[in-house]
Each structure stands twice: as C-alpha cells, then as structure tokens.
Amino acid sequence: MKLTERQTDALSELINIAFARTGAALSELTGHRVVLNPPEVAVYRTEELRPALAKFVPGDVASIHQVFAGPVAGDALLLLNYEGAVHLTDLLTDGHKPSNHLDESAREVLTEVGNILLNACLGMFGNLLKVHVTFSVPRLHLETLDELIGSITEGKTDLHYALVVYTAFHIRDSSVTGFLVIVLSVASLDRLIQEVDAWEAQQSR
C-alpha cells in the first residue's frame, strides 16, 4: 500500500496537530520551550520496518509501547536510540550533569513523554475516526531493534503496515531525534486513510 502525496500531506498535517499539543504539554511541564519537528510520514509493511529503521536507530533502542484496541487497533511506539533517550530525559529534567544511563526515574520520565505523545496522536486518530480507542498502560522497553520488531510482529499472521513518523524534539538548544511508529492491520489502515481522505476533502472545500 502506498500513500498518495495528498494523503501523506494530510496525514502529516494531522499528526502535526498532535505534535504541537505534545510540544505544548512538555513545555508546560518542564518550563522549557519544547518543539517537535514537523512530522515526516512514510508507510512500510512490517517486514520492511527493520531495514527502514536500522539506518536511523543503530544499537539499542528505547521504546515506549502502548497497545490500542477498538474499531481501529494496533501498536503505537515512540522509538529513541539509547543515547537519545538519555539526552532527552536530561534535557527535560534539568539533569545537572549529563548522565550516561537511564535510571528508574529517567525511565519513568520517558514513559510519561511517550504517553503524552502517543495519547495525543491516537486521541487525534480516535477523534478523526469518531471511534473510541482503548489504551493499554504504556511500557518502556530497552532492547535491540530486532527484538523490538520481533515483539511487535509476533503473533500477527496477516499483513500489517507501519506508519512511521520521523521527528525531533528541540529543547534548550539541543535536539533529540525519534520515531513514532504505529502498526496497523490492513483494515485499520484502510479505514484511517479513508477518514484522512474525507478530512482532506473537507479541509479543501
């Protein structure tokens, strides 16, 4: 499945609204201006996910994973490389000295940040689709990219797609890049794209 340019633009615009909310929420929380790069959206089949992400996330990956269920169901993840995860928590918590590991408190902060971002995006999708989405409790995982991809494709026999959104958090003259990955079944993605088309048509009317 490939998105048309208009669909990609529309999806980017919608996600950008969620990103703006996330930025505002994080700014308020930390007292520092937090801005997220405008999203760059691409769709991959889950089998293609590994090569697509390996370029950007070599080594260990910190992911905040939330499962969502309802008429549209799937997995939503915020992906950061390990160093990026450490840096982001330092930036958000005014870490006095750059640390090189994620302690329990740092993991909690990452979980909250992922929670805010994923809630904003999934909430936006729910509104768009006019459906209620049920969220699981967000969980933080530290593992290799292979292990991560293995865990999200596990048990999924039918075709799944991944909406990959590349972005970067800008905070205190520093930036940390990350990915938002939403894994959907074909049916869920179809439905999402239909709604995106409708929204786009409504906007241009």
Binding site: E28, L29, T30, Q66, G70, T89, L92, T93, H96, K97, S99, D103, E104, S105, A106, E108, V109, T111, E112, N115, N119, G123, G126, H132, V133, T134, F135, S136, V137, P138
Partner: protein, 561 residues
C-alpha cells in the same frame, strides 16, 4: 436436559469466577503497598485503600462520596486535574516523579532522605464498562527512597568524574612542572658553567705563571667574582629546596627595617653604579622596628633590588620607598626598566620562570629570586605584588609586612644590626685566633688546605687530618683547642667522630668545642649535627669570615654536657 446442565455449570463457574475476582480485588486493595483511589465518572471517591488511609491520615469513611478535587483542591492549582479528565476520556496517564514530584501531598515516610513530601509515581486509568468510562483508577507509588538512592548514585558518579578530571588536571600540572624543571636544569647548567669557564680559564693562566702582576690581580679578582656569583646560585637553590620542603625556619626578632633596607641597598650599590643606575630612597622612620628575620628580609630587598638592577638599562633609576600604612609596612621597589608584559605578570613569582626562557636571552639568572622573595614574604605573613604597565614601562614591586608593635624594654627585642654586604673579604676586624690550636678534619685536600690557610691567616696553629681515625690520633697527640670537622667522609663520617670524641673523658679532649662543615644546610641536618655533639654548623661553601668568627666564638666556651 444436557443443555440446562451445561448452562447451570457455566453460570456456576462464572459466578465462582466473579466471586473470586471480587475477593481478589477486595484483598488486593489493602494488600498492595501502593495507594489506590477509585472514583466514579464524576470523580467522587468510591474506594480509598488502607495505604491511602495510613499515609494521608484521612479515613475511607471520611472521603468516600466526596469529590476528589474538593478533597484536594491543590490538584486544580497544579493543573493535575487534567489527568483525571483525560482518563475520563479514555486515556491512561502516567505521571513521573521527576516531572511532577507528587500527586497528593503526603509527608515522606523516610524524611531523612531530604524530601519533606513523599515522592510519587502515579498511573491513572479509565475504568470502562461496555465502551463507556464509568470511573477512574489511580495507583500511587512511594518512590522517595528510590529517588534519594538515584540522587546519591548520581552524586557519586559526578564525584568520580570530577575526580577523574581533577586527576587529569593534576597530571597536566605535573607535566608542566616537569617541563619547567627541564628548562630549569638547562638554565642551571648554563648558569653554573658560565662563571666556571672564567674560573677555570683564569686559574689555568695563573698556574702557568705567565701573567703580569696587574693581570694576575685581575685574574684573582675575576675568579673571586665568579665564584661568588656561583655561590649565590647555589645558595638560591638551597633556599628553594628548603622552602619547597617546608624546612626554612625564620629567626624572628625585633629589627630595624630601615637598617635592613639600607644594608641591602649598600650591597647592591656597586652593581647599580656600574650601570650608572641611581637609587633613590624614601624611608619612613615610623616603619621601624618590626618583627621578622633580618637576614631573610635583607635577602628579600636584595633580590628585588638585584632584579631591578638587572632589568634596568644604563642610566636608569630605582626608587626604594619604605612607609608605614596603618597596621602594615610597605616596601616599594620601583624601576624604570624593561617592564613586564601583561601575559607574564601572573607568573612573575613562579619558580624557574623567566619571561624569556630562550637560550639567547639577554638576562642571566635562574628565575629563582622572585620566587624566593614571594615565599619569604609569605613566611613573614606578608604579601608581595607586582605592577607594570607593560614592556618598557618599568616595574613596581610592593612588599607588605604586618607591623607588629615591638614592646620596648625587652632586652631580646633589641633591633639586630646586620653585618654589611660582604663584597670583599677583609681579614681586618676579624677576631684573632692567636694561640689557638685547631684540628681540621676533611677528606678533601683542597678544602682542608683552604680552611687551614684562612685559620692560619688569623694567627691560629692548624693541624689537619684526612679522616676520622687520623683525627682521633691527632686529638690525643696534639691536644687541640677547637675541632672543625667535615661530616661526609668515607669510612667514618663526622657524626661518628664526634660521638667517639664526646665519649672520651675531658682530659683526653672529650669536651673539645667543635664545629661541623656540611654541604647540606637543611634544618634537620642542623638538628642532627647539634644533637651529635657539635656546637656549630657551618654550611659549605665555607665563608672565611664566618669560619673565623665561629672558631673564635667556640674558643670562648668549652663544650658542656
């Protein structure tokens, strides 16, 4: 029938599972070590577990039925009510300790961790029934101890990285010091070789005996001057080593500072005259007496003056000002010399530093003088500072010393007048050693002869011994009045000699007054010398006048045990 049975069984098992669930939930609420709050969709409290009761002091019966936001209005002030509203919209919310601190204010259980409020990690989740949110569930975890432990760990990591960087700094500093020492050694060998060349050259010509009397006199004069300058270098080096090892002791007494300054000026005057440099003095009589080590203070002034003369071109001017300012005395030495660049100013008092360290530099010296000044002034509880408007603008050194009002009437507090700078040794005025028989022990023939000559010059009869064993024989044979012995000798050293002598009865010379000669003029050497049984300690190279004075003074008093 079968169907009915199946339905019944299902009903039974379902109801059993439901009952079990209810029982688990009932116990779970109170068994978990977390706070659990359940509300309805209006945020009215439905459940309040035992943990919440014990940590907030509010009993379940007091809070159930009340609105959570009424119970804790602070949630609205801190904009945390939003999380409950989002939960009511179906979102699960995570509140981290690092970003929020806590949800509901409760006193920390272990307040010794430095947190008056319990630090909390919180999860708020919607409670749904058939796609409809019917309430919220909040779980609060006490993370105070964990946070404190993490902070402690972080502090340790930081301390370690600080230590690492300070070690790195120390290593750099050590490398720099090493480099300076290398440069210094190069300078030392150069500076020591220079006078040596003149000494060797002229003494060689003297030995050939082909010099005219006028030239021979010039040769001796040159040799003497160069040896003197070498002795000064060695003295400086010894001073530095004593200062570095903290062994330099001040002989503090009441002294006339003006006399000290004048003595220093007098000894530098020939050098200044040679370059036609005028020395002006402005001396405030109120600046004396002060308390200090007269020799060391004279050394301070002399070093500053010699520095000024060295760096001031011909026909220049040096001003020396001594004045009393409130509780301190100021010695200012100002010259019209080459000045000091801004870059070098901070390093002026560093050891082994000269602004121009190149091999072709114009000004000789080891760069120790000012470092010694700094240390000596420091030891006096004073301070020395330098000021220069830049190269070619002259330099001003200011020494500040604390003014201690000396109680008059105390005999020991009488101002000490120094001996004048010993530019030329004169045997006039030295005490006579006529009638004294002196035993000189040294394994080096040259030193032995030199001492013999000096003592003979003052009228003493001198017996020499090249070793401790020979000295013991000479002692019994010649019955000398005074013993002057070297310390470092092969086979048997001076310490052993004096110990043996002191063990002898007086009639065999056991109480002979004795002076020790040594190249090591450190305080601990001095102490050891005196403890061993010598009365005096004479540092090498031996100053003739000092030797004669010491011997004369020894002749005046016998050794008493």
């Amino acid at each position: 029938m079968i169907r009915q049975m199946t339905t019944e069984r299902i009903d039974e098992s379902t109801s059993e599972a439901t009952l079990l669930n209810a029982a688990v939930l009932h116990w779970m609420r109170d068994l978990v070590a977390h706070g659990i709050i359940t509300t309805d969709s209006e945020l009215n409290v439905v459940e309040w577990n035992h943990w919440m009761e014990s940590h907030t002091g509010k009993r379940a019966s007091e809070v159930i039925g009340s609105n959570l936001l009424d119970l804790f209005p602070e949630l609205i002030e801190r904009r945390l009510d939003r999380h409950f509203k989002w939960a009511l919209e179906g979102q699960v919310r995570v509140l981290s300790q690092a970003l929020h601190g806590y949800l509901v204010a409760m006193p920390a259980v272990a307040a010794e961790h430095g947190y008056p409020q319990m630090q909390q990690a919180v999860r708020i989740s919607p409670l749904k029934h058939r796609e409809r949110v019917i309430g919220t569930l909040t779980v609060i975890e006490d993370v105070t101890e964990r946070v404190a432990r993490e902070a402690e760990l972080q502090a340790q990591i930081e301390a370690r990285s600080r230590l690492l960087s300070s070690e790195k700094l120390a290593r750099n500093e050590a490398e720099r010091a090493n480099r300076l020492k290398d440069e210094f050694l190069a300078t030392v060998s150069h500076e020591l070789r220079n006078p040596l060349n003149a000494i060797l050259g002229w003494s060689h010509m003297l030995r050939l005996g082909k010099l005219t009397p006028a030239n021979a006199e010039r040769a001796v004069e040159t040799i003497y001057r160069n040896a003197k300058s070498q002795a000064q270098l060695v003295a400086d080096l010894l001073d530095v080593s004593r200062i570095i090892s903290g062994k330099l002791r001040l002989d503090v007494r009441a002294l006339d500072l003006l006399y000290v300054v004048n003595a220093a000026i007098d000894s530098i005057r020939p050098a200044a005259d040679a370059k036609n440099i005028r020395i002006q003095t402005v001396l405030d009589p109120a600046a004396a007496p002060i308390s200090g080590d007269a020799d060391r203070l004279q050394q301070v002034v002399w070093n500053l003056l010699s520095n000024a003369v060295k760096f001031t071109p011909k026909d220049g001017r040096i001003q020396v000002k001594v004045q009393r300012i409130n509780t301190h005395v100021e010695i200012v030495v100002r010259d019209t010399g080459v000045g000091i660049s801004k870059e070098f100013l901070p390093y002026v008092f560093d050891r082994f530093r000269q602004a121009d360290a190149s091999s072709t530099r114009i000004h000789g010296g080891l760069g120790l003088g000012l470092s010694i000044v700094h240390q000596l002034v420091d030891l006096h509880g004073g301070a020395v500072s330098v000021q220069s408007d830049g190269e070619g603008q002259g330099t001003t050194f200011t020494v500040t010393l604390p003014f201690v009002d000396v109680v008059s009437g105390e005999k020991e507090a009488e101002p000490v007048h120094l001996t004048q700078g010993d530019e030329v040794i004169s045997f006039d005025g030295l005490p006579s050693l006529e009638g004294l028989r002196i035993l000189v022990v040294d394994d080096e023939p040259d030193t032995r002869e030199l001492i013999q000559e000096v003592l003979k010059e003052c009228g003493a009869e001198v017996i020499t011994s090249p070793s401790a064993a020979a000295a013991l024989t000479a002692l019994e044979q010649h019955k000398p009045d005074i013993l002057v012995s070297d310390l470092g000798m092969p086979d048997e050293d001076g310490y052993s000699l004096i110990t043996k002598i002191r063990a002898l009865p007086p009639e065999r010379g056991g109480d002979i007054p004795a002076a020790a000669l040594t190249a090591y003029a450190r305080a601990e050497d001095r102490m050891r010398v005196l403890r061993a049984g010598f009365q005096f300690h004479l540092p090498k190279p031996v100053d003739s006048a000092e030797l004669v004075t010491v011997v004369a003074s020894l002749a005046g008093r016998a050794y008493k045990t």
